[in-house]
Each structure stands twice: as structure tokens, then as C-alpha cells.
């Protein structure tokens, strides 16, 4: 049984099976005052911190709006958090990434490789082994492709403007940079002898129908981006 007794000098707490845990004897006034100050400080710090956490995680509301700048400055980057976790709606489509490279043969003719499916081998590897080393490649591809697909279906005109290569790779969105370099690496692995000039990317979005219409074929759409600069990943 757990039992606590308090004496003027010593506190003894007895655990199950009689294990003894000795507390510090009572200290002097100064220690108590310092401890009380620390306790209050920790209470205030914790209260402030979790108020910021609640504001950061909540959708913007009239209570958190005035503190948006402070909230963002405090929470990012150390305490950044996003717990939507397949919410408010889960993923409802397969998003497959394909890439192909453009190179010149010895007669200087521009040629393309075949389309390489980046997503399928990753998915197969993880289906065979849940602890596959492809786990974080999968996360990278899934998130980057998902970002591009959302951008495309939110505002197609803006997508075509932002994701078009205009001569400076630094002006491309980060999702494009990451997929570009990943794709370039895959092309170099598959065709080590070819000198690529550029690459093309396409994302096939295959939407699942609602359960009531499950016998209807999945709806397929393609997002294509051409002439992305090739990144030499082999140094």
C-alpha cells in the first residue's frame, strides 16, 4: 500500500513491497522562497507555452488572430507541429510520379528515355518490408508530390506560373527542387552513360470513386511539367 507520513524533519514514503524513498528534510526559509519563485515561474512558462501551442494548432480564430505574428515567431522552428494526420480528409487518390530524361545522341538529335515510374518501386519495397530503407524516400516523394497536386487543383494558372522553369532553379518551389534532384539521381542510376540536358516530369492522379460507385473506373488525370533542368547528382 502507498502511504505518506509527514513529520517536522523528515518525510518517508513507502511504496509497494516496502521500498523506501527518503525525501530531503525541510530546508530553511530562503530555500522555500527560492523554490516558490521557481515554481511560479515554471507555472507561468508552461501556461504561456501551451497557450501558444493551442493557438498554433487551432484554426485561426478571433482569440488567436491578434497574436498570429508572436505565435509564429515563438513556435517556429523549434516547436513547429502539425497534427492534422490524414485530416480533415484522408488521401483519396494514388499519385504516381514519372520522369524521363532528354539527351542527345552522337548526331546531336534530341532524344527521350522512356518514362520511369519513381513511386511504384518505393511502394513495393515498403509493402515487402515495413522497415525498408526506402521509408523516408517514400515520405519525401509522397509529401512533395502531394504539395504539387494540391497546388495544381487549387489554382491551375498559378501552378503553371510558379512551377515553370524560367532560368533560375532557386525560384522553383521546394517540392520541385526536391523531386527534380531525386529524379535526376534515378536517371543517372538507370542510364549512367548518358549525358542528360533536361528532364520531364508527370504526375498521374488516380482518384478513387465513392464506395457507392466503386464499380466505376478510377478517374485519372495527368499533371505534366516539361524541360526541367537536369541536376548532376553524381560528383
Amino acid at each position: 500500500m502507498y502511504k505518506e507520513q509527514s513529520y517536522s524533519k523528515l518525510v518517508i514514503v513507502k511504496f509497494w513491497e516496502g521500498e523506501l524513498y527518503l525525501e530531503q528534510p525541510r530546508k530553511n526559509t530562503l530555500v522555500t522562497l527560492l523554490w516558490s519563485f521557481l515554481f511560479l515561474l515554471l507555472c507561468l512558462t508552461l501556461a504561456f507555452h501551451f497557450l501558444m501551442v493551442l493557438f498554433f494548432n487551432s484554426p485561426e480564430n478571433e482569440l488567436s488572430k491578434p497574436y498570429k505574428t508572436l505565435n509564429k515567431a515563438y513556435m517556429e522552428p523549434i516547436f513547429f507541429q502539425d497534427f492534422k494526420l490524414f485530416a480533415p480528409d484522408p488521401v483519396t487518390s494514388n499519385q504516381t510520379l514519372y520522369i524521363r530524361g532528354t539527351y542527345r545522341d552522337r548526331h546531336k538529335n534530341g532524344l527521350h528515355t522512356e518514362w520511369i515510374n519513381i513511386t511504384a518501386p518505393i511502394a513495393s519495397s515498403i509493402q515487402e518490408n515495413r522497415f525498408s530503407s526506402q521509408q523516408y524516400i517514400k515520405t519525401t516523394v509522397t509529401h512533395a508530390v502531394g504539395t504539387m497536386v494540391r497546388a495544381y487543383f487549387t489554382d491551375k494558372k498559378d501552378f503553371l506560373k510558379r512551377y515553370r522553369y524560367t532560368g533560375d532553379v532557386r525560384k522553383l518551389p521546394y517540392s520541385m527542387v526536391v523531386l527534380n534532384r531525386l529524379g535526376s539521381g534515378e536517371l543517372q542510376k538507370k542510364y549512367p552513360d548518358l549525358q542528360f540536358e533536361s528532364m520531364d516530369m508527370k504526375i498521374e492522379v488516380e482518384r478513387f470513386p465513392p464506395y457507392a460507385k466503386r464499380h466505376v473506373a478510377n478517374l485519372k488525370q495527368t499533371i505534366a511539367i516539361s524541360k526541367i533542368p537536369f541536376a548532376n547528382m553524381v560528383k
Binding site: Y21, F83, Q127, V178
Partner: protein, 323 residues
């Protein structure tokens, strides 16, 4: 009632300074350390591609992020692949020290710094499991996670010191670190539930129907069986919602604590196996260890000792010649 106010504050101080959940936090330390070790070892073949200076997110792009925040993570300053490898393998060594509980305080800080740095090195690489893990590692820096099952506690005992006793200031900081970790964990469940109930597909019970068809989150044969059976995908969808809603409440009561932790193991285990997100599942299951008090662990150990003790005696008797 006649007791002076100061004596009452002193009583409160003694109670509030007693370190809580020492066994649970030590087990959590070991669990998180092993998960991190698995993370680093699993990604050795991909480390340069994912986080190296010439990988998918080159170092020159990291400069932009540095301008936004005024500072950057550790790996943002590393421009050489060889130096990156040095820090990567140093992170593995620190993880091992954290697991065995040697220089736990220092290693706790280093483990957080390395892990937070690597998860922020490249956009799109992290997931929900990484997010909650580095947040919990931050709070655990303030806790005494080396009181049990550690080299530090053994070394203290050899020097004649009791590893469970510490000063009153360290005790209150430890408890606040624990409460912050618990509050953060509750926040995850709370907001995960609140966002889900806003989604039509969660409310009509078809969320799992869609998820099980996504190649990246499915398991052949099993997923197809689930998304073709309304009983399975509707039950699974609503179970996810009910569990995430109930956990923050049921975990506080002795009678429901063990039940909700079993539900958590089942829920997160299913996510890890079916959806192929083992990291997130292991982090969430491991974090449940910090909810049990030291008394509960002692009680469980006593029950196991009695049962194991009985079986061992029976085994020894049976092994005797002529038994």
C-alpha cells in the same frame, strides 16, 4: 488549520518536488533511443541523398531558410559530405549512450539537437512521428530519465549515492518537464480528433476505404479485404475517432488506463503494419509508458516476479533426477 502558511508551502514543496514516473520515463528513454537508433541505421544508405549537402535539398537552399529564422539547425552549417558523415555517425553513438543511460543529461540534449536538426534539414522528409518525437525529446531534456535501467544509476550506487534522491529544485523541474510532455501528447490526440471530425469522409465512415487503396499506405491482400468490406472500414474509421477522443480522458483513471493503453497498442500497431508507418506507431506506443506511476510498475513487477518465480520453482523441480 493553525499550521503556519510557510509550513504548508513547505509541505507542498516536498510533495511537488518528489520526482514522478521515474521508471516510466526511463523506459521511455530506452524506447525512444532504440527508435532513433533504428532511424539512423535504417537510413545509412540514403543519408547523403536525403540530408547531405549535395542531396535532394542542396546547402544553398538552406541559406534561404536561415534568413527567415535568423538561425538554422546544425546540419545547415555543414557543407562537406565527409563532415556530414562524421556528425551522422556521432548521432548514432550519442543514441547508443542515451539507450544505455550513460551521461544521460548531456546525451538527452545532444539527441534532441541531432534529431531536430536532421528532421529540419530537408523539407518534405519528416512525418507525424518525427514531429511528436522531437517535441517529446525536448521536454524530456528537463526530466531525470536515467534514474532506472542506466549506467549512470549504477555508477551512482557504486559511489554510495542513491540515484533516486535529488535536490528539491531538480525535482520540480523534472515534474514540469513530465507534465509538459504529457500535455503535448494530449494536444496531439485532441487536435487530431478535432480536425478529423471536420472531414466528411471521417464522419461518414469511409476514410479507411480510401486510405487502404493508396499504394503507399496499403498492404497487399489485407488492405483489399478491408476496403471491400463495409463492416471493416466503417468500424475501423469510427474506432480511430472514438479512440483519439477517449484517450486523453481514460488515461487518467486507474480502471481505464490499462484498457486505453491496450487500445493504443492495437490502434497504432495496426497503423504501423497496415499503413507502413512503423516509426509513428512505435513513438506513440512508447510514449504511453510515461503515463504509469512508479507504484504501478512496482506492482506489475511484483506480479510477474511471483508468477515467474512459481514457474521457475516448478521448472527446477521438474529438472531434478527422479522427478
Amino acid at each position: 488549520m493553525s499550521q503556519p502558511i510557510f509550513a504548508r508551502i513547505d509541505d507542498f514543496r516536498i510533495k511537488a518536488s518528489r520526482k514522478r514516473q521515474l521508471i516510466g520515463l526511463s523506459l521511455t528513454r530506452i524506447g525512444f533511443g532504440l527508435i532513433l537508433l533504428c532511424f539512423y541505421l535504417q537510413n545509412i544508405p540514403q543519408r547523403q541523398l536525403l540530408w547531405g549537402p549535395d542531396g535532394v535539398f542542396p546547402i544553398e537552399f538552406v541559406e534561404e531558410i536561415k534568413q527567415w529564422y535568423g538561425f538554422i539547425h546544425l546540419f545547415g552549417y555543414i557543407e562537406s559530405p565527409a563532415l556530414f558523415d562524421l556528425f551522422y555517425f556521432l548521432a548514432i553513438c550519442v543514441c547508443v549512450m542515451y539507450v544505455v543511460g550513460y551521461q544521460t543529461r548531456v546525451c538527452g540534449v545532444l539527441v534532441f539537437v541531432f534529431y531536430w536538426s536532421i528532421t529540419h534539414r530537408t523539407p518534405f522528409v519528416g512525418n507525424g512521428g518525427d514531429n511528436i518525437l522531437y517535441l517529446l525529446l525536448f521536454y524530456l531534456m528537463f526530466c531525470d530519465v536515467g534514474a532506472y535501467f542506466s549506467v549512470d544509476s549504477q555508477l551512482k550506487r557504486k559511489k554510495g549515492k542513491d540515484p533516486l534522491i535529488s535536490n528539491t529544485f531538480a525535482g520540480v523541474v523534472h515534474n514540469f518537464g513530465l507534465w509538459a510532455a504529457i500535455a503535448q501528447f494530449m494536444t496531439l490526440y485532441l487536435f487530431s480528433f478535432l480536425y478529423k471530425v471536420q472531414g466528411e469522409k471521417w464522419m461518414d465512415g469511409t476514410a479507411l476505404y480510401y486510405l487502404m487503396q493508396v499504394d503507399m499506405y496499403s498492404l497487399p491482400v489485407v488492405s483489399e479485404w478491408i476496403y471491400t468490406q463495409p463492416l471493416l472500414f466503417v468500424t475501423g474509421t469510427y474506432f480511430a475517432l472514438i479512440f483519439q477522443y477517449c484517450f486523453p480522458f481514460m488515461i487518467w483513471f486507474k480502471k481505464t488506463k490499462w484498457l486505453v493503453v491496450c487500445m493504443a497498442v492495437f490502434f497504432h500497431g495496426s497503423i504501423g503494419i497496415l499503413m507502413g508507418i512503423p516509426m509513428f506507431s512505435l513513438v506513440m506506443i512508447t510514449a504511453d509508458l510515461m503515463f504509469f506511476t512508479d507504484e504501478e510498475y512496482h506492482r506489475a513487477a511484483a506480479i510477474l516476479k511471483r508468477r515467474w518465480g512459481k514457474n521457475r520453482i516448478k521448472q527446477v523441480i521438474e529438472e531434478q533426477p527422479g522427478a
